[in-house]
Every structure is written in structure tokens, then in C-alpha cells.
């Protein structure tokens, strides 16, 4: 066109036609949203109970040692409690972190890598934690007696 001016660089058309990258419909996000809330409520009870017993009753942190843990896990109620807490907290937390990754990692590759790492951490921790709770022996036979709970009378 003849009406060129002093304008400097040629600039791309600023109004890009815009298309959504892809549509993903389905109830996945819905369930995860509901789960966050449901698990939150349950966790509230579980965690507060956990903290109260561990930190507030008796001597607080100083009371925690192998014996204390063993004492708790010899009771099936606490076993279920902690197991549930482990699972719920891990799923809740992992899902939360997944959201955060979605928010801040805009490139597909970064998103993928971070989510991979997250999944790995989740699996390791949950599997390990579950195994520990289930295979835990409160009175390991070869341990010094003073470290064990009082009910481990050899």
C-alpha cells in the first residue's frame, strides 16, 4: 500500500484467531473436586486427632519414640486411623499439587515431567507407608528392651 509511514518494524497482526487447544469433557475434574472436599473433612478429624494425641497428650513431642509408635499401632484402631490418614492425605495432597502444576506449568512437556515426578513420589510414599503399617512388628525380637513398648515383655 502507498500509505506506508514512518512505522518501524513490521508487526504481526495483533488479533490472533484463537482456538481452544483441545476439549476434554468428562467427570474426572468433578470427582476430584468433590473428593478434595470430602477428604478434607475426614482429614480434619484424622489429622487433628493425630496431632492431639502425638503432640498434646502427655509430654508432647518428647514422648514420641519407637515405643510410643509401637504402642499406638498395636491397637487396630490406630492402625486403620493412620492408614486412612496416609491414603487420604496423599491422594488429597497429590491431587492438590497436580492442580498447582496445571496452573503454573504451561508447557506440555514441563507439565508432563512434573506430573510424572509427582506420581512417582505418590506411589513410593503410599506403598512404603502402607507396608510399614501392615508389616509393623511392635516388638522386634532383637531390639534392646528399653526401646520397646512396655507390653513387649519378652
Amino acid at each position: 500500500m502507498a500509505h506506508g509511514t514512518a512505522a518501524v518494524a513490521k508487526v504481526d497482526s495483533p488479533r490472533s484467531p484463537y482456538v481452544r487447544r483441545k476439549t476434554t469433557r468428562g467427570n474426572y475434574e468433578l470427582y476430584s473436586w468433590v473428593f478434595m472436599r470430602a477428604s478434607g473433612v475426614v482429614l480434619l478429624v484424622l489429622i487433628f486427632g493425630h496431632l492431639f494425641v502425638n503432640l498434646m497428650v502427655g509430654d508432647g513431642v518428647h514422648a514420641i519414640d519407637f515405643g510410643f509408635v509401637a504402642g499406638k499401632w498395636s491397637n487396630p484402631m490406630w492402625q486403620v486411623w493412620d492408614l486412612l490418614m496416609l491414603w487420604l492425605a496423599m491422594i488429597h495432597g497429590t491431587n492438590g499439587v497436580r492442580t498447582i502444576i496445571n496452573d503454573y506449568a504451561t508447557r506440555d512437556l514441563t507439565r508432563g515431567i512434573l506430573k510424572g515426578l509427582l506420581l512417582l513420589a505418590f506411589t513410593v510414599v503410599v506403598v512404603l507407608g502402607t507396608l510399614v503399617i501392615f508389616t509393623f512388628d511392635p516388638c522386634p525380637p532383637d531390639a534392646p528392651a528399653e526401646l520397646l513398648a512396655s507390653f513387649c515383655t519378652a
Binding site: 500500500m1 512505522a7 497482526s13 495483533p14
Partner: protein
Amino acid sequence: MQTHQYDVVIVGAGGAGMRAALESSKEARTAVISKLYPTRSHTGAAQGGMAAALANVEDDNWEWHTFDTVKGGDYLVDQDAAEILAKEAIESVLDLERMGLPFNRTPEGKIDQRRFGGHTRDHGQSAVRRACYAADRTGHMILQTLYQNCVKQDVEFFNEFYVLDLITDHDLTTEEIADGEEVNATGVVAYDLATGEIHVFQAKAIIFATGGAGKIFKTTSNAHTLTGDGMALAYRRGLPLEDMEFFQFHPTGLAGLGILLSEAARGEGGILRNSEGERFMERYAPTIKDLAPRDIVARSMANEVREGRGAGPNKDYVLLDLTHLEPAHIDAKLPDITEFARTYLGIEPYTEPVPVYPTAHYAMGGVPTNIKGEVLRDGVNVVKGLYAAGEVACVSVHGSNRLGTNSLLDINVFGKRSGRAAAEYAKTASFHELPEDPTVRVVEQLDEMRNRPDGERIADIRKALQDTMDLNAQVFRTGDSLNAALADIRELQKRYRNASVQDKGKLFNTDLLEAIELGFLLDIAEVTVVAAINRKESRGGHYREDFPNRDDANYMLHTMAYRRPTAASDQAEGHVEGYFDHVEEFDGYKVVLGSKPVVQTRYEPMERKY
């Protein structure tokens, strides 16, 4: 440069443009070009309502509506058009309801209606509830609903494209064209704001729906973008403008700011008071008081102020009193406008009266069309393939003063009609050849403005124009004041030729476009004043203190203003010895006034009393 080809091109995406698009895009390949995103159009600012004699809450019929429209327009209304307006009103409201418009509802679930100025039952007996509404954002809901349906129909939009020229196959400004000879509109030239690129749209049919020109005044309810583009483009290409002297001043603008407080405020029971607390409208319009037509109320207010009964420290406004209404009622029916009072003046309308003063509001005149929406090139002949609808057009349903709620109606009824007519025409017509280089004029104009090194600022000229128009061509006019305005405008036209812009770029150069728009404003102000000087009577929105009475014997005619080269003949179509043979010479062109008879069907002009 890019070239596009469409069956129908619609210029303007306000109510009128989109209503037309909904019709034409069903039948023909349609593009809508708009300098704003459609939902930014000023139709969205309309508040009060849209008239239709639905008789949902009170006895009513379209004949009463016709009568009110004719009387409200001080009998300068073309009555055939007014009949169509009132009759098709009902269908257009129902159309909108079907498209999804969320009207307020009566307890039975029907569309609710309310009172509005000048709308009466049985030929002026008492005020009638005729305005269909959605709180005080009726225009907003119309605009949104129309846009929504355009999305549904996949209408093609070119947003932030400024149409800067109309292309016809004859040069109407210079050629003498015989009666009945075919003149065709062939396309438009547009400027893409975002890139600065020029686009040519070739079309079989073109609809102008560019809205009003309120920015020729300083105090106005109109948007910054209402600069009369469509009117000016047609006018510059030799088409006439009709009845430009009639500009409506809305009584209740926020004092000093011009932001509109809808007539609905009075429809819902608001009362105008002077500094003494007197309900002064009782003196001026004993029957319908505050709900008299706008010209009467605006004049009464201005009169109170000049007789010293204005309120405020400078006694320069009157008060709109809503304090006797229930806050809940105000919230339900008038939420937006009460918020304007709060936001902009810090006034709480529940407890304090709101300062108001007339504000320039609506151009009754515009591009003349017939009832199909076809644009006239003189008193009788049309330009083939060119249509206009909405505020830019003058089918003359509003005559010399528009009734509140009749404009939203106008854009729907005539938007629809012109859309249909254009699509219909495009089906049989073929494309017409475009000139060799259709963009020269636009490119020249833009380059000149952009490249002029250092000149006067656009804003200073615009301000001077608006000041003189407010001072000299507002509610009260005299021959002297109008001549003063004209002298100012001439001076400003000269200054404009040496004005320059600071932004020299291509990208989103709003500085440049404001300059172009000022050119439109100057031209529109010029015809407005010339036509006002010529009309030596008072009628509707045009009030001459030196000629305070209506003069049907000499002026029961529409004004038709043409812009012509100085060499052209001084006679225009409808030239009437003594009354419509006014010619005003400018540097390089002249304005020639002719006339067009008013269509009368059944209502004889009477004295207008309320």
C-alpha cells in the same frame, strides 16, 4: 489492501445492525463491519424500555401508539411509517422474547410494561403502560440478546474496522442524474484499527446502521464513538440528510456530566422540582406533568433555570426527586441509574434529589429512507442496494421529536425490514464493478492527516465545536445564536485542514481515527446548524425563540440537505421558494436545502397540548 466480497455488508453492529444481520444472514452471505466490538455499541446504554401496545397490563392498541408517535413528533412524522412502527412493534417485542430477552415479568408471567413520556391511552386521555423493559437496562439486554443470536447464527463480524467511505457507481456530488436512472451502491472501504490496513468490501447490498452523532455537543448522553460516521459518509458522497435540525435533548442528564437518567425514573414516579421544591411540570403540562414529551420537559427545565428557579450553588440545574419512592422499588426497577448518581455525583437517590439538566441525546434526522429501509438520493429516487436503519437513518417515524422507547423499537422494526429487504435484493442483484482504485480517497485522507508535520491538536478543535454547539444550538436557539455557531464551525473547518495527529504509527492508531471522526462531526454540525437556521419556526426538538410558534403553512416539510460543489445548481429536490431554497457557501462546496413532503394518513395536525 485486502478485498472481500459479500452479498450483504452491514456497517454498524448496534441494535439496528445486528437485527438486520439476523435477517440477512439467513438468506445471504453477510458481513457485519463495526468500529466497536458489537456489545460495546451504544444501544447497550439505552435504559428505559421499548414501546409496544401489547396491552399486557392495561388496555392499549397500536393505533393509540401511532397517534402518540405522530403527536409526539409534532406532526412532522411520516404517518405511514409510524403505523408500521406501532403495528410491527408487537411482533418485534415477541421476536426478542423468543430470542431470549429477559424482560421483567408481571405476576402472571407476562412481559411487564411501564409508563413513559408521551405514551397515552385513547389519544391523550392519560398515561399508559406501554414500555416493555428489563429493569433499567433494556438496551443492554437487547444488544446482548441480538449479539447472542448472531453468535448462534454464526454471523461474520469484522470488529474494530472503521468504514471510511461508501462507493457508488455514480458520483452524486457532481453528476446530474436523471430521475429514475439507476444509481448503485457497490461497496465500502474500511480501515482495520488493529493493523492500519485498508480493506475493500464489495457488496450487492449495504446497510448503514452506524447510530447517532451526539458528540457534536459537549453535554451529551452519547458515547465518545457516536460521531455520525454513517451520516457524514453518505452526505459526503452526495446523498441528502433529512431533518438534521431536530436533535433531542433529554431532560434528565446528570447535571454537568450528561450521563443519562432514564425517563423511566419519572415513569416509575419520579418528580422534577425546582429550587423552591415546586413540581413545576404541573404548570407546563397539566395532564401528564412529568411525563410530557422530552422536548417540552427539557424546555420547561431550561426555562425554570433561566427564570432563576434553578437549584444548586449556581442555580443551573433542577432536581429529580425519587425520595418518596420505596428503596426496594427503586432497586428493583432503577438499579443502574441510581448507581450512576451515587458513583458520579456522590448523591444517594433514596434520600437526596438528584441534580439534572437536559443533555443532547438523539438525532431525529439522518439518512433518508423509505419504509423498506432503502436510502433516498433525493425526494423520490433510491440508491439501489443501499439501506439504512436505526439512529443513522430517518424514515421519519420520530418527526421533530422522538418519544422515549420508540428508538429501541425503531432499530428492531426497521433493522429487521432493511435486513430482509437487503437480502431479498441481493438474491436477484449482481455485483457491480468497483472503480479502478476504490481506496484512493481514504488513503489520501489518512496519509494527509498522518503525515502533516505539526499542526493544531484535534482535541482543541473538537472542544471548540462542542462548546459552540452547546452554547448556540441547544434547547433554545435563535437566528443569531445559530449564525454564531455557523461562523464558528466555518472557522473550525479551516483549522481542521491544518490539524495533525501525534501518533504516526499503523498499529491501533486511535489518535488518527479520532481525527477522522472529528471531520465527520464538523460536517454533521454544519448541516445541523444550516438546517436549523433555515427552519424559522418552533417544532418538537427545534425551538427558535425568535419564532416560538409552529408554522404548518410554510414548514410542514422535511428538510433535505445536500452537499454540492460550488459550481452545481442552487436548486435541490423539493426546493420551495422562500422556505427551502437556502444555500450556504463554504470554501469549496455548498450546502443546498430542499424539502420532502410529510406523509399524512389519518391524523390532521393539531395543537400539541398535554
